[in-house]
Symmetry: C2
Subunit: 280 residues, 2 copies
């Protein structure tokens, strides 16, 4: 038997998963947190009714948000992650031996606790000594941290509704730029150019006001019910390209999605996406 | 108001569209043929309950099935299309001035008629003098055509159920190889590596038995409710690469998805897809 759990986009498109059972369902201080056991995707985290990550496809998203950003910097000693409560982004970061410290700032401790309990293959790096896990508001955190504190900032947030809404505006991006070193990199998930066209376009435009160079890249996230997902790299000063993908060489045997060639090919955009992102 | 129309994959995942109204619904000699006006995708063709193409996203699929194949051959005078009843593949082929004749063999004349009536932006090339449109079984057609008749064969078929089932087996592929010139190219849609993993893998394996070189490539088709779609090129004799993408230069202003860079980048596969396709 089992029920269907569905996510609906603007009341026009919906994506549903057959659910065997619900392992957790609670309203935290910030959002509804659910952990479902689905037929196709294995266990899946759902926040405020939006599918976030699943055992089956989490490597698509996490390898895509982490590795291109780390190929875009020479120094990657200090990394800040905003959001990322499931732990997958931190897990991918810890594959890099020259990452000395990761500060992860997640607003909702319940997400971390639920993922530790039910998604141990994703939340596998929370006990790493190189991790400083802070349960607090990422917007307030970047507002108070000294300038030039990080080599890399990754924004691994939800859609721009609920607690993640403030992660999509210019004042937050300006603080990210401030806490980054000038030759550092800001990497973020930037929604679907197909289903969230307006958000994708607004993120590109806002980033281009603040950063010298902004380069979106695309790939797949099956759980997001959309044919195409995007992430973006933004450089405070100078160009994003060329990426140095050679450091990926030693990691490739562990990775399931990313490889040296794809790390470059993902930045080659379909024409309509390029036009959305740059206007030309 | 409106209803939801849903496609379900193995009873585990479903993808639904809000429908304003049904413009056509009939059981043809071969399959159920429906034409829906949807909120998000505009008008959409549905065969046996499977979403086939839509006004909004058809260019993703049609530009991806046609242009890489045509960049893989030096001569493209004679092209055979099996299936493709909506007309989008023929429309893309007709952009190429050196295509002298396209033979399109579609089993179900009702699909062609419905698309001519309701999807004129897709079915826009059916009156081209370079087109020979045949309403007959594509499997029987390739079995009777003389050897070495075509420079390019494109298989633009449905999922391997119903009338398209015979388009996914070795004896059909052997006939395709026979009707192709040795330095010609076979291009086909090869399903989703995520939702139809077994079919994707079986198609690659079967093609590799018959053809010298087989190269899958990936992209997006939002209407197929899957994060990733695949197409494949197969060369009877010799290698598929390198592709000569220069002829695309003159077409790029008309295209919305494909461009010279993407025509190469689409062949760079995520690691797990490469392993599914080649075993290594």
């Amino acid at each position: 038997m089992g029920n269907w759990y569905e996510e609906t986009f603007d009341g026009q498109v919906r994506f549903g998963l057959k659910v065997r059972r619900t392992l957790h369902s609670n309203r935290s201080k910030f959002q509804r947190v659910e952990l479902l056991e689905t037929e196709f995707f294995g266990k899946a985290l759902v926040l405020d009714g939006l599918f976030m990550t699943s055992e089956k496809d989490e490597f698509f998203y996490h390898e895509m948000i982490v590795h291109p950003a780390l190929c875009a910097v020479r120094r990657r000693a200090r990394v800040l992650v905003i959001g990322g409560g499931d732990g997958g982004t931190v897990r991918e970061l810890m594959r890099w031996p020259d990452v000395e410290q990761v500060v992860m700032v997640e607003i909702d401790g319940e997400v971390v606790d639920v993922c530790r309990e039910h998604l141990p293959s994703i939340a596998s790096a929370f006990d790493e000594p190189r991790l400083e896990l802070r349960i607090e508001d990422g917007i307030e955190y970047v507002a108070k941290v000294p300038a030039c504190s990080f080599d890399v900032v990754l924004l691994d947030g939800s859609d721009p509704v609920g607690p993640a809404e403030g992660l999509f505006n210019e004042s937050f991006y300006a603080d990210v730029k401030r806490v980054l070193k000038p030759d550092g990199i800001f990497g973020l998930q930037s929604e679907s150019p197909v289903l969230q066209t307006d958000v994708f376009q607004a993120v590109q435009k806002t980033l281009r006001v603040l950063f010298d160079d902004v380069k979106p890249y695309i790939g797949s996230v099956p759980l997001y019910g959309s044919a195409m997902w995007s992430w973006t790299l933004a450089r405070p000063v100078g160009e994003v390209f060329p990426l140095d993908t050679e450091p990926l060489h030693g990691l490739e045997a562990e990775l399931r999605y990313m490889n040296r060639e794809l790390c470059k090919a993902a930045f080659v955009l379909p024409t309509f996406v390029r036009k959305l992102a740059t206007g030309v």
